[in-house]
């Protein structure tokens, strides 16, 4: 941890940025009791993610460490932490807010950008493989129809999703 080394103003601003984002509003209520950490199934198996620590770093303004690291992408969104947080910090939602910030700044793990391209191109996150098609016919299910990808693109464009994706591609 190197908090305090960065310029003070950026540090202070970061927790405010998170608070102003959808899902991030409750972050400052955290008093570091660690209920989230001990509730977290991911934290129990890897040291790479600890929700309490993500929140603490964000509150201290360690923006770079938070958004460039892979911790925020390891949350499995089980919401156990959020259910048990005594301060009603919406922890999983805070992590979504942090992911959105990371994305805007060009930080996104490859797997997520692949999902995004797939969604924009085919209207599906996971490509339909031959294996799936065969399996469906064995089970007597009808073949999958092409998705209404044009309509989906319109929606994704209206929400700004496509721009994020472009940004990601530019930065690569």
């Amino acid at each position: 941890m190197e908090y305090g080394k960065e310029e003070k103003t950026t540090n202070l601003a970061f927790s405010k940025v998170v608070t102003s984002r959808l899902g991030g509003e409750t972050i400052s209520l955290c008093y570091q009791c660690g209920t989230c950490a001990s509730s977290c199934p991911v934290a129990k198996i890897t040291e790479r993610f600890n929700p309490r620590e993500v929140i603490k770093l964000s509150l201290l303004g360690e923006k770079n460490e938070v958004i460039s690291g892979d911790a925020i992408w390891l949350c499995c969104s089980c919401y156990n932490c959020q259910e048990r947080c005594p301060q009603k910090v919406e922890i999983a939602d805070v992590i979504y807010a942090l992911r959105n910030i990371a994305l805007e700044e060009g930080y996104i793990p490859n797997i997520y950008s692949e999902f995004a391209s797939a969604l924009l191109n085919d209207g599906r996150i996971v490509k339909v493989s031959k294996f799936v098609e065969n399996k469906r016919s064995v089970l007597g299910l009808p073949p999958l129809q092409p998705t209404g990808v044009d309509a989906l693109r319109k929606i994704l464009s209206a929400t700004g999703f496509d721009k994020l994706q472009q940004k990601e591609e530019e930065s690569e």
């Binding site: 209520l29 008093y31 570091q32 009791c33 660690g34 209920t35 950490a37 001990s38 509730s39 934290a43 129990k44 040291e47 600890n50 309490r52 620590e53 156990n80 048990r84 005594p86 301060q87 009603k88």
Partner: protein
């Protein structure tokens, strides 16, 4: 009525003011104001020669209105008014203003403008004085007796204090025995002594030294001659007024005659009915006829009528050697008249079963601090041994969890303030009795504020008690061994721990005692957001309530440790004694009065009155009119501001008096700037103006201050009238919303100002000409800045254009 003769007394503060204000011009101006018969000038008028001048003028020159311009009026007024009263003139015919801090000092850089403003201020005071009316003093009787609700340490201590002072005290306890939570807690920090000892009453003849303290049972508490103890009783209703409350109490049957029982124990031995003992956290059973612990008070058994078989069994009746058991006892209703009521209902543990992840309901080895306290108590269900309730074997590994349901925004957001100390006390007591016990405390923050408290934390660490900074997410149970596992992250190590435990002790939040809400409704008291009784003012009146004669003490207002409870109890006793001692309430009639001709059928004022002083009564014409109690009315005028029919007035601040003042203040400008009327409440608003002057802050002299009891008195049309009589802008200056001296006044005023702004807009007047400001009295700078700001704003807007007839 006699002809009005005004005497004006101008203090120049030892010629300090005359360096700024032209006193000759002031005198010349005042002389020509109608009604003025006398003008005097002196260096001061509130004491010595100056004060004598006023007395002589009242006696010799027969003046019947006194206008004094004096510095520090809030101090000097007291003396002047008291002296005037002695001369026989009604003291409410005196008007004191401050030419120093409200005029000379803040405008010292523009002496000519200051002089013109001083003229306006004097004129306003004279015009108001002319319209003042005598106000009478009223007396209301006060019974010299009190009711104390709650027989825990707070209630008992208050009762001892009040009986020592000679008052008749009735102590009501809903449980069959006294002692409350304290008796169950066993021992107290920071002294580690018994919880249930009190300062003995004066009637205890064996109390030799004033340092002595005694257990309730040997203190002679029950034998205090002027104390009436009613256990097993609850309050059914309270009616009446301060000084004379009519209380109805239901006393449930004990089925054992208190005067006959000799505590021989034959009845409990023979009783065949056994039930889990709630008092002892169900760690043991008790009989249907029982006593909580051997040293309880009163030392008489009680029969639990929810389980007793009565005449189907009656074995206890047969065996009792003194015929003390009376199975045919019935509930009785007791009516009392008391002058004062002290609420000492305390607090209790929060129901931990609501927090599902801690399994308080399903796992017998998960207990709370209170159950642990019972185990530690030598008189308790385990005789001082710490056991696992599941198999009653000694608990060797104990994990304590702090903040269970407190500091938790899902349940109780507040810190219960005593649980850290309770757990530290328990851990240390166990560790010193059984040093090989392994104790771990899981905490979020350890809070040991208070005298001698940090020492507990220190000692606990020395003893080898372990601390884990982390709030466990869940308590698990090993399905095979039945042992408990506490799942927690130690945040300092960033390590996940699975703590093995025989016994897990929760430190639940402390919440108001059961029945608090119902009692609040019966008494007409407010609860705070955490559902505790709300005191009148947590800083200045920590034991008083909005209702005169009703006091609070102990845990009823918030969880408290024993020293604080004791402090609070003594304090409440003093307040109650002060109220009861004179046998009467003397109160002047600076209250609201209803014009019944205009009043009718709406219910705004009774709802709005912060003091519950207004009731609706039906008249002969079969419509409802408001009736105001002179005893309860505090004279704020919030009802005046609320009444849609202008049917209510304050005797000491009538609309015509206010209008005359307004007109006078706006009649002279003397500056090149637009006139501003600053309507200030008599509390923070007006004193903020004092502060600005005292600190010699400068603001323009076109700002004129008018004092009202509370900004809540303002009616929308009054604000508009200010513009009509010449104001170019209006400031309303009140207390902060949560600091209004009359509870709701400044909030009400804010709404009026909003409404008035809308109307101004309709009339084509810029709504920015009107502004509400809220400040506390030390914020003189805020007032000066506001005055400057509004003046500049008005200069930018240009002169006010009033339409003819608007």
């Amino acid at each position: 009525m006699d002809e009005v003769k005004v005497g004006v007394f101008l203090s120049d503060c030892g010629n300090q003011l005359s360096k700024i204000l032209d006193f000759n011009a002031l005198t010349a101006y005042v002389k020509n104001v109608s009604g003025v018969v006398l003008i005097e000038r002196n260096s001061e008028f509130w004491r010595g020669d100056g004060l004598q001048t006023i007395v002589d003028a009242v006696k010799g020159r027969k003046i019947n209105r006194v206008v004094v311009a004096e510095s520090l009026p809030k101090l000097s007024e007291v003396n002047i008014v008291q002296t005037v009263e002695k001369t026989g003139l009604n003291p409410y015919l005196v008007e004191v203003i401050d030419l120093k801090d409200h005029c000379a000092w803040p405008h010292r850089e523009t002496p000519q403008e200051a002089t013109e403003k001083a003229k306006a201020m004097l004129l306003a005071a004279i015009e108001r004085a002319k319209l003042l009316e005598p106000i009478e003093k009223l007396e209301f009787p006060v019974l010299k007796s009190a009711l104390v609700i709650g027989g825990g340490i707070a209630g008992m201590q208050t009762a001892v204090d009040l009986t020592d002072l000679g008052f008749e005290v009735n102590l009501v306890e809903k449980a069959p025995f006294l002692g409350g939570l304290a008796a169950r807690a066993g021992r107290f920090f920071p002294t580690d002594d018994c919880a249930i000892c009190i300062q003995p009453p004066a009637s205890d003849v064996k109390t030799i030294t004033h340092t002595s303290r005694k257990c309730v049972y040997r203190s002679g508490f029950s034998e205090i001659p002027n104390l009436n103890i009613l256990t097993n009783s609850k309050i059914v209703s309270v009616e009446g007024v301060p000084g004379n409350y009519k209380v109805t109490i239901e006393k449930k049957p004990r089925y054992v005659n208190e005067l006959k029982c000799v505590r021989c124990d034959l009845c409990t031995t023979i009783c065949p009915v056994e039930v889990p003992d709630e008092y002892n956290a169900k760690l043991k059973n008790r009989k249907a006829i029982y006593m909580n612990i051997p040293n309880v008070h009163p030392p008489v058994y009680v029969i639990d009528d929810s389980v007793c078989k009565f005449n189907d069994c009656a074995k206890c009746v047969d065996v009792c050697p003194t015929d003390a058991i009376e199975l045919n006892q019935k509930s009785e209703q007791i009516n009392l008249n008391v002058g004062s009521i002290i609420v000492a209902t305390g607090f209790q543990e929060y129901d931990s079963s609501i927090i599902k992840e801690y399994h308080y309901d399903d796992y017998p080895n998960v207990i709370t601090n209170l159950a642990l306290a019972r185990m530690i108590d030598g008189f308790g269900p385990t005789g001082g041994v710490i056991i696992r309730p599941s198999d009653r074997k000694t608990a060797k590994k104990i994990v304590m969890i702090q903040c269970v349901g407190s500091r938790d925004r899902r349940y109780n957001p507040y810190c219960s303030s005593i649980c850290c100390m309770i757990s530290l006390k328990h851990a240390s007591l166990i560790k010193s009795a059984y040093p090989d016990t392994d104790i771990t405390i899981c905490y979020i923050d350890i809070r040991t504020t208070g005298r001698e408290h940090e020492h507990y934390y220190e000692r606990a660490r020395e003893m080898g008690i372990k601390f884990v900074k982390g709030r466990p997410t869940e308590i698990l149970r090993d399905p095979e061994t039945g042992r408990l596992i506490v799942d927690v992250e130690d945040a300092l190590l960033k390590k996940f721990l699975e703590l093995d435990a025989d016994l897990v002790v929760l430190a639940p939040a402390m919440v108001p005692a059961e029945g608090t809400k119902e009692l609040a409704e019966i008494l007409g008291l407010e609860l705070d957001e955490d559902r505790f009784f709300k005191e009148y003012n947590s800083k200045l009146r920590p034991t008083e309530t909005k209702l005169r004669g009703i006091y609070l003490c102990g845990g009823a207002t918030f969880p408290k440790d024993a020293p604080t409870t004791s402090l609070h109890a003594h304090s409440a006793a003093v307040k109650a004694a002060k109220f009861l001692s004179t046998g009467k309430i003397v109160k002047d009639q600076r209250t609201a009065i209803v014009n019944e001709e205009y009043c009718g059928d709406c219910e705004f004022c009774p709802v709005t009155c912060p003091y519950g002083a207004i009731s609706l009564v039906s008249t002969t014409e079969e419509h409802l009119v408001a009736r105001i109690s002179d005893l309860l009315c505090e004279g704020c005028g919030v009802c005046v501001g609320t009444c849609p029919l202008n049917a209510i007035e304050l005797r000491h601040s009538r609309p015509n008096q206010m209008l005359a003042q307004m007109k006078a203040l706006m009649s002279i400008n003397g500056t090149s700037k637009p006139l501003v009327l600053a309507i200030c409440c008599s509390e923070c608003g007006h004193t903020a103006v004092d502060s600005a002057g005292m600190a010699r802050m400068q603001y323009p002299a076109n700002v004129r201050v008018m004092k009202v009891p509370c900004t809540g008195i303002l009616q929308v049309h009054q604000v508009l009238e200010a513009f009509k009589v010449g104001a170019q802008g209006v400031m309303v200056v009140g207390c902060k919303s949560d600091g209004c001296h009359y509870e709701v006044g400044s909030q009400k005023a804010e709404k009026k100002v909003e409404l008035a702004k809308m109307l101004l807009k309709e009339y084509g007047i810029e709504p920015e000409r009107l502004e509400m400001f809220k400040m506390v009295f030390i914020e003189g700078n805020k007032f000066a800045e506001a005055a400057q700001m509004i003046t500049e704003r008005l200069e930018k807007l240009g002169p006010l254009q009033l339409m003819r007839g608007s």
